[in-house]
């Protein structure tokens, strides 16, 4: 994987849902390595879909999405999985922790899939849990945590592998103001100090202002012929 190339390059992107909704309208964009970009736009404009496309979880109907110089849709599933495990950290809109695993085990997950050694995995996971201030709760299961704590674990999980590209989908939706105030400088620092690329999908203007650049998505196009049919 060529970390020196643009972290993300999108060309002529279209994504159709059914036969009626067409997102992105041929979007072209590039995110340089180490850049912190906010993707904004009202609900329904495709922010989460864009995150899914960049992470290789979904594929464009037309156009291409390249991550560190590789078109993910042209790779084998095993190669995409490997890239996600090693180079991409994802914070989902609804966090999605594994209910049968403890806090620390949830943080360990991406480290398991990226092939970290047992020693590194335990050390890194413990550090990440301490970093989010949940050391005392590291052996608890997600159903014992508050929504904000679950969100923090989701963020720790995404950062655990020290990914070159961090994708965040509405990362502060369940967090209280004080946690947001801690998290935001941290994200900025992560991008600048570690030269990591961040793509942040958000509705929050406060969050978007943190980014070095904002990409505003347009309303989706409705294919009128298809609706009439």
């Amino acid at each position: 994987m060529n970390i020196e190339a643009d972290a993300v390059r999108i060309r002529g992107l279209h994504k159709m849902f059914g036969n009626t909704v067409q997102l992105f309208g041929g979007l072209n964009m590039a995110v340089k390595s180490g850049e912190f970009v906010a993707v904004t736009g009202p609900t329904g404009t495709g922010k989460s879909t864009l995150i899914n496309l960049i992470s290789g979880l979904d594929f464009p109907t037309k156009g291409s999405v390249e991550v560190f110089g590789k078109d993910l849709s042209k790779l084998k599933e095993s190669e995409r999985a490997s890239i996600r495990a090693k180079n991409i950290g994802i914070v989902f809109q609804n966090t999605h922790l594994i209910s049968k695993l403890t806090v620390i085990e949830n943080v360990e997950l991406p480290l398991i899939f990226s092939g970290s050694s047992d020693k590194d995995r335990e050390k890194i996971a413990a550090e990440m849990v301490e970093f989010i201030g949940l050391s005392k709760k590291k052996h608890l299961f997600p159903n014992s945590l508050s929504a904000g704590e679950i969100r923090k674990v989701g963020i720790a999980r995404a950062l655990a592998t020290d990914p070159a590209l961090l994708l965040l989908d509405e990362p502060t939706s369940d967090l209280d103001t004080s946690t947001v105030d801690i998290l935001l400088p941290l994200l900025r620092g992560y991008s600048y100090l570690h030269n990591r690329t961040i793509v942040l999908a958000t509705n929050s203007l406060k969050l978007a202002k943190l980014a070095s650049r904002e990409i505003r998505l347009r309303w989706p196009e409705l294919v009128v012929d298809a609706i009439q049919d």
């Binding site: 979880l57 979904d58 090693k86 209910s99 049968k100 085990e105």
Partner: protein
């Protein structure tokens, strides 16, 4: 926690559906063994045993695929999350295959135990021909059936659309 621990965490989680799978496999294995212990005419022994083994294989495979399918429906979102975090298709397949084989083998062992008890009773009534060979054959059929049933669901699980499963 490493990959094996994680896999084991999924396998050891036996739900009601898994217990039903064990019971179903046990019942079919017991019936197969018990039926194998009563012989028709000598010339038809092979055909009789083949028919019994085939029916048992089909019953165990169908039961296990239904059992694992209900498991998959419950685990859809988790499978999507694991895949999104970088788990490969092989890992997902391993979860379902290992669990299916575990349930099938457990069911086979329980079924053989039932059949053994049944044979003791029928031995009192009349003569039977319950042998080590038939136990081994039945165990093989049970394990093969559970592997076949699990394989179908494992392949299905590994091909789930990640985005759809995460949305729930």
């Amino acid at each position: 926690m490493n990959t094996t621990d994680l896999l084991f965490r999924y396998i050891k989680e036996l739900r009601v559906e898994s217990s039903l799978g064990v019971i179903g496999a046990a019942a079919s294995i017991a019936v197969c063994l018990a039926a194998a212990s009563t012989r028709p005419m000598e010339s038809n022994v092979s055909a009789y045993q083949f028919a019994l083994s085939s029916i048992t294989f089909l019953i165990v495979a169908t039961l296990l695929s239904l059992c694992m399918m209900s498991e998959l429906l419950l685990k859809r979102q988790e499978i999507g999350i694991l895949r999104a975090l970088g788990a490969g298709k092989r890992f997902v397949m391993a979860i379902f295959l290992s669990k299916s084989i575990l349930i099938g083998t457990l069911g086979s062992v329980v079924g053989i135990a039932f059949a053994y008890v049944f044979t003791i009773i029928t031995n009192v009534i009349g003569q039977t021909c319950y042998s080590g060979e038939s136990i081994l054959r039945t165990l093989t059929v049970g394990s093969a059936g559970s592997l076949a049933g699990g394989l179908y669901v494992a392949i299905k699980a590994s091909r789930l659309n990640i985005v759809e499963t995460i949305r729930g």
